[in-house]
Amino acid sequence: MVTYLDHAASTPMRHEAIEAMTPFLDNLYANPSGSHRFARVARKALDEARDVVAEALGCNAGEVIFTSGGTEGDNSAVLGTVRKLGGVAVCTATEHHAVLHCVEHVDGVVVRVNNVGSVDLDDLARVLQEATPDKPITVVSVMAVNNEVGTITPMRDVARIVRKHAPNALLHTDAVQAACWIDLREITPLVDALSLSAHKFGGPKGVGIMVLKAGKQLEPMIFGGGQERDRRSGTHNVAGIIGAATALHFTDITRADEIERITKLRDRLVDDIVAALPDVLETVPREQRVPGVAHLCIKGIESEALLFLLDQADVCASAASACASGAMEPSHVLAAMGLSREWTNGALRLSLGHTTTDADIDTAVRTIVSAVTQLRR
């Protein structure tokens, strides 16, 4: 039995999503852009999926763009704006690389974060105020929930500051890690653009959802047949989109119950580990992060060694992001939060999701305590 605590990397697909998409992998194979009855079946399913998504996000169906994933949404928002309007891109230091590397690529400005990994609102205001007319800030991207440590961004405050100091900038949020834990209808109205990734909420990999509010324009990243109202070309991934919409719907209607259930499991997981082991830091206070993430910094050990022992015991967890070779990179998130290497060397992210059970927590606690004890000998 595998104990899977890496839901923030990818969560198992919801069975409802698999069932909904299967016919479109099989006999309903037509291209929805076609002009025959067979195509219309696919087109109808696609249109309905868009309505389902719009409902869960609190936006109009016309504002929904289907993409290949969270990375494409992030790239489109940052690069698409700078290519369309020029100007300067701004993001925070703890963004996912899908945003951060885009902003760095166009020589943008990176805003500091505080010691819990949340945007430093004063620094954000300062950066926006210091912009000059010849170099206006055209896009600001601030993640709704951090993927490593789970910190929730006060998006209302971010929106207020951006609207005040950079009223013409496109405000984008990478909400990939928010979908399971925050009602997206609370976030969508605050921003101009929002990106999601289906496989983080029980949909398939290779599908993303982007919201781009009416009246906002981006330079497309992909040109071709003009699908998605010319905003994103390429034949629709019909099955994937239907899987994504179905998963989002079920995530939405079960969210409140899941928050309650997972919070209890997560708290027990952390409490039991901290009680059994000295020198374990809960990286971000619980009230400031989503229920699904337990991020710990464990002194006196190295993440790579710990993950190996956990893997040997069939417990799947993670530390930070991996580079192309598969090697673990020192976390830019923890570094930006100002944590010392003494703590960050032993970073461990345990992330919970819709399939996590009480038994998973029991196994994880037992295995982690024993592995850390072995490594500290």
Partner: protein
């Protein structure tokens, strides 16, 4: 046994993993990510990691990547740069073995409960009648790598395995072909992994340190030429010194970093009768006692150089003087010097050549 095999993505370590699996060991493969910068095989040598992983998949063993790039910078790259500043000729591959493979990796392996670490080096480890572990040359004379793993002491020798040491390179390749491994025909790596072919040593060092111009003088102090980068000059060097053509061949016989002065002389000035070797690591620490009296040894001072007869005088636990039977060309300070028993089979000790 539970064995952690270091897989570089080359043919030797691929076959090493296969041999261990065949012998019935519980095998896990690991590729160390060492160099994060530019290289001939791409960022963090992704293609080599891919090869190692695909071989591991084919053999049905787990494959891990350990990121030791900080340690690599600290123990290999930074000292490599500093050595050039100080006028030494370093051997980074040996320092990588000393600090990464047979220290950082083996410590990690012990912590994780492995019984041994294995690599694809062409060398052998044998236990003698008294129970002492001996590091022997590999079966393939031309590919022997005992020189580059000479720093293994009794503790590390007891924890290390060289599964292809008893094979010739041709046998290793045959075995890889037989198993259908994708690395079967991959060429041997020759160069320092963090120095790219396009830029070379000059570009690498030039990006990290300011080069100092230096005067080139004859032994009588008269000016003979000029170089732009003192840091790139090695004892014994003959070219690139700005010397006028004609006359007898002139070689670098001294590099004075303090005064930015390079002395050239004829070949005879390169010869010397002895060399002091520091930072000695003994295969068997008891040899410091056994060798107190002057003992004959064979000495190798480059990866595939000849083994030269000398007598050894132990100056301290970590320092010896080697007196050549016949005068020898000076060994560039900073080079690794390895002592073999007179049979030329077993490593006795190794260290770093001092400046005379």
């Amino acid at each position: 046994m539970k064995v952690l095999v270091a897989m570089s993505g080359g043919v030797d370590s691929s076959v090493a993993a296969a041999e261990l699996k065949d012998a019935g060991h519980e095998v896990v493969g690991v590729t160390m990510r060492l160099w994060g910068g530019e290289s001939d095989t791409g960022c963090c040598s992704v293609s080599d990691v891919d090869d190692a992983r695909r071989v591991a998949q084919q053999l049905g063993i787990d494959h891990l990547v350990f990121n030791f790039s900080d340690d690599f910078n600290k123990h290999v790259v930074d000292p490599y740069v500093k050595a050039h500043v100080d006028g030494f000729t370093p051997n980074p591959c040996i320092e990588c073995n000393r600090h990464l493979k047979f220290d950082r990796l083996s410590e990690r392996a012990r912590l994780l409960g492995f019984d041994a670490v294995a690599t694809g080096h062409h060398a052998r480890i044998e236990k003698d009648d008294e129970g002492t572990m001996r590091l022997a040359r590999g079966a393939d004379d031309a590919k022997d790598q005992s020189y580059v793993v000479h720093m293994l002491d009794q503790k590390e020798l007891a924890y290390t395995m060289f599964p292809v040491g008893h094979l010739t390179k041709a046998q290793v390749r045959d075995r890889a072909v037989e198993l259908g491994l994708r690395t079967a025909t991959k060429p041997d790596s020759q160069d320092v992994c963090f120095i790219s072919k396009t830029g070379g040593r000059e570009t690498f060092l030039g990006n990290r340190i300011p080069f100092r111009p230096a005067q080139v003088v004859n032994e009588d102090g008269s000016e003979a030429g000029r170089v732009e980068a003192l840091e790139l000059v090695t004892i014994g060097q003959r070219k690139g010194l700005g010397l006028p053509g004609g006359g007898p061949k002139q070689y670098v016989v001294d590099v004075d970093t303090a005064n930015a002065r390079i002395t050239v002389g004829d070949e005879s000035k390169l010869f010397c009768s002895s060399v002091v070797v520091k930072n000695i690591v003994w295969s068997d620490a008891q040899d410091t006692q056994r060798l107190r009296v002057n003992t004959d040894v064979l000495v190798q001072s480059s990866a595939h150089g000849a083994a030269i007869p000398a007598t050894v005088e132990v100056l301290s636990d970590s320092e010896v003087r080697l007196t050549w039977r016949e005068p020898q060309r000076r060994i560039a300070p900073g080079q690794s010097v390895v002592l073999y028993e007179v049979t030329n089979n077993f490593v006795v000790a190794g260290g770093i050549a001092c400046a005379n």
